[in-house]
């Protein structure tokens, strides 16, 4: 199993004491799986994604990703796991504004020492970015920027892609196009995809769906 999450808990401190966000999550994801995480705002979807990516530390439980327990890794270990095994696609794109598109796409792959100019170029072409490689993020539309973020995540050839409402900032038509391209490319790489989304239409395009309600899987 690529990803195994067991009894995962997480709380945030609030004015009146700790506020539980995740109350004991169990889930598994196999290589090639596509999983949609749905739920209301504040249900813990993004928190779960952040914990799996090692961006935040869990209070309890375990996350085993590619054979490593994420909760037992230090900051350096989690960073290494992220750059080598995980691709993250943020709702706000989070491109590096001072790097051009080609450098943005290549960035994580270069960090992980797995950069291949050919495959990066193929990804850019597949996502319709071939003519924009010398441009900077602020010269692209939102849809184009999200395609760059997808290309960046895939170029590093991760085992698991985590996408946090990747089309949340896009109009419906563009969102559909981006989603189709993303799923096709993920399928080609054989990576698993865990995506947080509010959209039932997008969730239906995934092989599995899990619904979170008040920190528990429904």
């Amino acid at each position: 199993m690529l990803l195994t999450v067991k009894a995962l808990t997480k709380s945030y401190s609030g004015a009146e004491g700790p506020v539980p966000v995740l109350r004991g999550i169990d889930l598994t994801v196999a290589a090639g799986d596509t999983l949609a995480l749905t739920g209301e705002s504040g249900s813990g979807k993004s928190t779960l994604l952040h914990l799996i990516a090692g961006l935040d530390a869990a209070d309890g439980g375990s996350i085993t990703l590619a054979g490593q327990d994420v909760t037992q890794l230090d900051d350096g270990g989690r960073a290494a796991l992220r750059r080598e095994s995980v691709g993250i696609i943020f709702q706000q794109f989070n491109l590096i504004p001072s790097l051009d598109i080609a450098a943005n796409i290549a960035f994580q792959a270069r960090l992980a020492d797995s950069y291949s100019p050919t495959s990066a170029r193929e990804l850019a072409d597949a996502l319709g970015l071939g003519d924009h490689l010398q441009k900077y993020p602020d010269q692209l539309s939102g849809g184009q920027q999200q395609r760059v973020a997808i290309a960046r995540a895939l170029a590093a050839r991760p085992k698991l892609i985590l996408a946090d409402e990747p089309t949340g900032n896009l109009d419906e038509e563009t969102a559909g196009e981006v989603m189709t391209q993303m799923l096709a490319l993920v399928a080609q790489t054989g990576a698993a995809l865990v995506m947080v989304t509010h959209s039932p239409r997008l969730a239906n395009q995934m092989s599995r769906q899990l619904h979170l309600r008040q920190g528990l899987l429904a």
């Binding site: 750059r83 989070n94 960090l111």
Partner: protein
């Protein structure tokens, strides 16, 4: 991974060249001012050291004549026969050059141009009876002396060295010596000095040159100014780095999210800053060289005029100076960047998801700033009341300046808050609220402006007060219309007889170097008459001061002596082993680094009968006629007569030179502060679009927004100037009443110069308008599409 991280970090500067320019320019300017001042100091000190090495001053014990300035050659021979390892020195003036004759066979190693410390071999020196001097000095001697001249760059300015017999010939001093240098290791069995040469006194080595110690205070002041300028520069760098880090927070988060380890990221950022610091520092050192080269001639003239210190007017590139310039640049960057780096290191990976936490952190920072400011200002008050010593004086300055700088944003926020509450129109309300919001981005630049203006007010008040006091002091002290120098006591006696019917008063200048209250000092004998009684304003005196002095019942002490020895009116001063007199008056003695006491001429002559006056001040209603009579009828040479006006002009000239140095530093510091505001506004202009877009969308034209930006800069400059004036006056008070007393031993009255402050305020306003003009113009011309992006959430 490192390469990828570096390329991402560096790409920020590539895409924001203005910010990179601000950072490097800030560092370069800060380093330039600091290293420029340090270069001037280093050059002056190197000149003192060269002089000390050449003259043996301060390094070895010396034997000096108890009276007069000559030692018979026989005394030297007697000492050598008695086992004393001493080396003779002859010195005297040839034109304006100090000619020094040494005996290379007996001179301690390293002294003069021979041996370890010098550049020539002993046989060369002995075989070639030449006069050695650096190029400038040699040029002065060319044609004056008949001995061959050899250029030796290592020799101190205005000093020439030759073999002792050559020097005796050139100085017409055959058979006499000036002093004897005592070698460090002496034989155990030697006759006591009092037996062999009772007319000589031994002066102990002082571990450094007299001039170096005398001028320490002057250099300390210059260093303080350099440090202040550097602090202004560090504020700029702090602002630029803070802004760059703030803008890169998102990038840092992304880099970490994509797998860049935090430690590696921090190391890369530190390395990046080190590189920038070295680049900025390198440019700064080059600029500092230009600053130093342009200041050095004035500083050299000031030091010569004030202390008689010979300083080369030419700047040399010294490795230590380069290195210290680069080190200070790196240190400044480290100071400016530590907070930002710590903030990055501590920033949670998901920090931007917690904007409130960030806002809270800023609020906490504000409280810390307020507390630190309060603490420093209270500490300044405590130091002012109870502190002691020069270091305390500078500590007080530092507390005062940093405390006030930290208080500035709080002061501005309070004033703006009041303005906001009074505002009637909606635009005015928005304007004041928006100005308050901008304070955090501008506060560092405004602090730099505050410090620069306060330094200007403080230093110019000090120097102007000094000039005003000194001018009055010169009128008092240089009362005689003519000053005469005679060749010998016999000629002096003849002169007194000659001028008696031609003058209203003859004032002999009788003095001896001695120790008073265990400190090196001068004792003067004065002929008390109308000149003293009418012209001398004493700082403190008994009602019958002149009668008591004239009667030999009391003594006058200069302020330096009184303060250092903690003596005042009524206290007793020991002026000879068996003579102690009460102090009847204390006089101001500005510019004199050592203590001085004055007694009546008869008492002085009784105490030191061997000292005979050879210099005189002459009072007359017709100086021109007296001068003619002295030259034509008495046969005195023109060089022996000095006009009062000449001395005054020379003394004031020295101060004008001092002014040039401080004025140049003032202008430079203010320019740096103006640059800081310009850069802050320019950088902020790019970040202001999201704040301005709503105001634009609601009906304010871009032109109006630009105008408001300009008005804002002017208002903030006015408010800063309002705080800078009292701070500057406080700074002046500390310099005059604390630092000056500790450094020089005298306290100057403080005068205020409202017109100068008004001009400075005007300059600051012009600087603020100029600094704000371009950013305001850029804002006024922001394309609507750029403003619209704010609402499209695509920025």
């Amino acid at each position: 991974m490192t390469a990828a991280g570096l390329s991402a970090l560096w790409s920020h500067w590539r895409r924001n060249p203005l910010q990179l320019f601000t950072l490097i320019a800030g560092l370069a300017l800060a380093t330039a001012l600091w290293s420029g001042v340090q270069a001037v100091n280093a050059e002056a000190r190197a000149s003192y050291d060269a002089a000390a090495a050449t003259l043996g001053e301060g390094q070895y014990d010396q034997l000096l004549p108890e009276t007069g300035n000559q030692i018979p050659q026989e005394t030297f021979i007697a000492l050598r026969r008695a086992g004393w390892l001493v080396s003779p020195v002859v010195e005297g003036k040839l034109v304006s050059v100090q000619l020094l004759g040494i005996d290379p066979l007996t001179a301690p190693n390293g002294l003069g141009p021979v041996g370890d410390g010098g550049g020539m071999s002993l046989p060369d020196f002995l075989e070639n009876p030449a006069v050695f001097a650096n190029e400038d000095t040699a040029a002065k001697l060319r044609g004056i002396i008949d001995a061959p001249l050899v250029i030796e760059p290592a020799i101190a300015p205005n000093t020439a060295i030759t073999d002792i017999y050559q020097a005796q010939r050139l100085l017409n001093a055959t058979g006499t010596l000036s002093r004897l240098i005592v070698a460090r290791n002496q034989p155990v069995a030697q006759k006591p000095l009092g037996v062999v040469a009772p007319d000589l006194v031994r002066r102990a080595a002082q571990g450094g040159s007299d001039v170096a110690r005398l001028t320490d205070s002057f250099h300390l002041n210059l260093t303080a100014f350099g440090l202040l300028s550097f602090a202004v520069g560090v504020f700029i760098v702090h602002g630029a780095i803070g802004l760059a880090f703030e803008q890169r927070r998102a990038m840092v988060r992304t880099l970490r999210a994509l797998g860049m380890p935090l430690r590696r990221l921090v190391v890369l950022m530190a390395a990046e800053l080190l590189l920038l610091a070295l680049a900025g520092g390198g440019i700064g050192v080059c600029l500092g060289y230009i600053v130093a080269a342009s200041l050095l001639p004035d500083v050299a003239a000031t030091l010569k005029g004030l202390y008689g210190a010979q300083v080369s007017g030419t700047l040399q590139l010294r490795p230590s100076w380069w290195l210290s310039g680069l080190a200070i640049s790196v240190l400044g960057t480290a100071i400016a960047a530590t907070g930002a780096l710590v903030s990055v290191a501590r920033m949670p990976l998901l920090a931007s998801a917690q904007p409130r936490a960030w806002a809270n952190a800023r609020g906490a920072m504000r409280r810390i700033q307020m507390l630190a400011s309060l603490l420093l200002l209270v500490l300044a008050g405590v130091l002012a009341l109870f502190g002691d010593g020069l270091i305390m004086g500078f500590g007080l300055l530092a507390c005062l300046l940093i405390g006030a700088a930290l208080a500035l944003p709080l002061f501005l926020d309070a004033v703006l808050s009041v303005a906001q509450s009074w505002a009637k129109g909606v635009t005015a309300q928005w304007f004041w609220a928006d100005t308050r919001q901008q304070l955090s981005g501008l506060s560092l630049a405004l602090m730099a402006l505050l410090l620069a203006m306060a330094a200007n007010v403080g230093v110019s008040t000090m120097v102007s007060s000094f000039r005003l006091t000194f001018t009055g002091f010169l009128d008092q002290r240089l009362a005689s219309e003519l000053y005469i120098e005679t060749d010998s006591p016999r000629q002096a006696a003849a002169l007194e007889r000659f001028v008696e019917p031609l003058t209203s008063e003859i004032l002999p200048l009788l003095s001896i170097d001695t120790k008073l209250a265990d400190m090196p000092a001068e004792l003067y004998g004065a002929r008390i008459g109308a000149t003293y009684r009418d012209n001398w304003d004493l700082l403190a005196a008994t009602p019958d001061v002149w009668d008591r002095i004239a009667a030999g019942e009391a003594v006058l002490a200069n302020e330096q002596l009184a303060r250092r020895a903690d003596l005042w009116i009524g206290d007793t001063l020991q002026i000879a082993p068996d003579v102690a007199l009460p102090i009847a008056g204390v006089f101001g003695d500005y510019g004199n680094p050592i203590g001085q006491a004055i007694v009546a001429e008869p008492l002085f002559t009784a105490l030191h009968p061997q000292v005979r006056a050879t210099r005189f001040g002459l009072r007359t209603d017709d100086p021109a006629a007296l001068r003619t009579a002295l030259m034509d009828d008495f046969g005195l040479s023109a060089q022996s007569i000095t006009d009062q006006a000449q001395i005054k002009a020379f003394s004031l000239g020295v101060f004008e030179r001092t002014f040039t140095v401080t004025a140049a530093l003032n202008v430079l510091t203010l320019s740096v502060a103006g640059f800081a505001i310009f850069m802050s506004l320019l950088t902020l202009a790019g970040m202001r679009v999201p704040q301005l877009a709503p105001a634009w969308a609601l009906g304010l034209t871009r032109r109006r927004l630009g105008q408001l930006e300009l008005i804002r800069a002017v208002i903030l400059a006015i408010l800063t100037a309002t705080l800078a004036l009292p701070l500057g006056l406080a700074l002046a008070w500390v310099l005059l009443a604390v630092v000056n007393v500790e450094a020089f031993g005298w306290r100057l009255p403080m005068y205020v110069f409202p017109r100068d402050y008004a001009v400075l305020g005007l300059f600051a306003l012009v600087a603020a308008v100029l600094a704000a003009a371009w950013p305001a113009r850029r804002l006024a011309r922001v394309p609507p599409a750029e403003l619209l992006k704010v609402f499209a959430n695509e920025r």
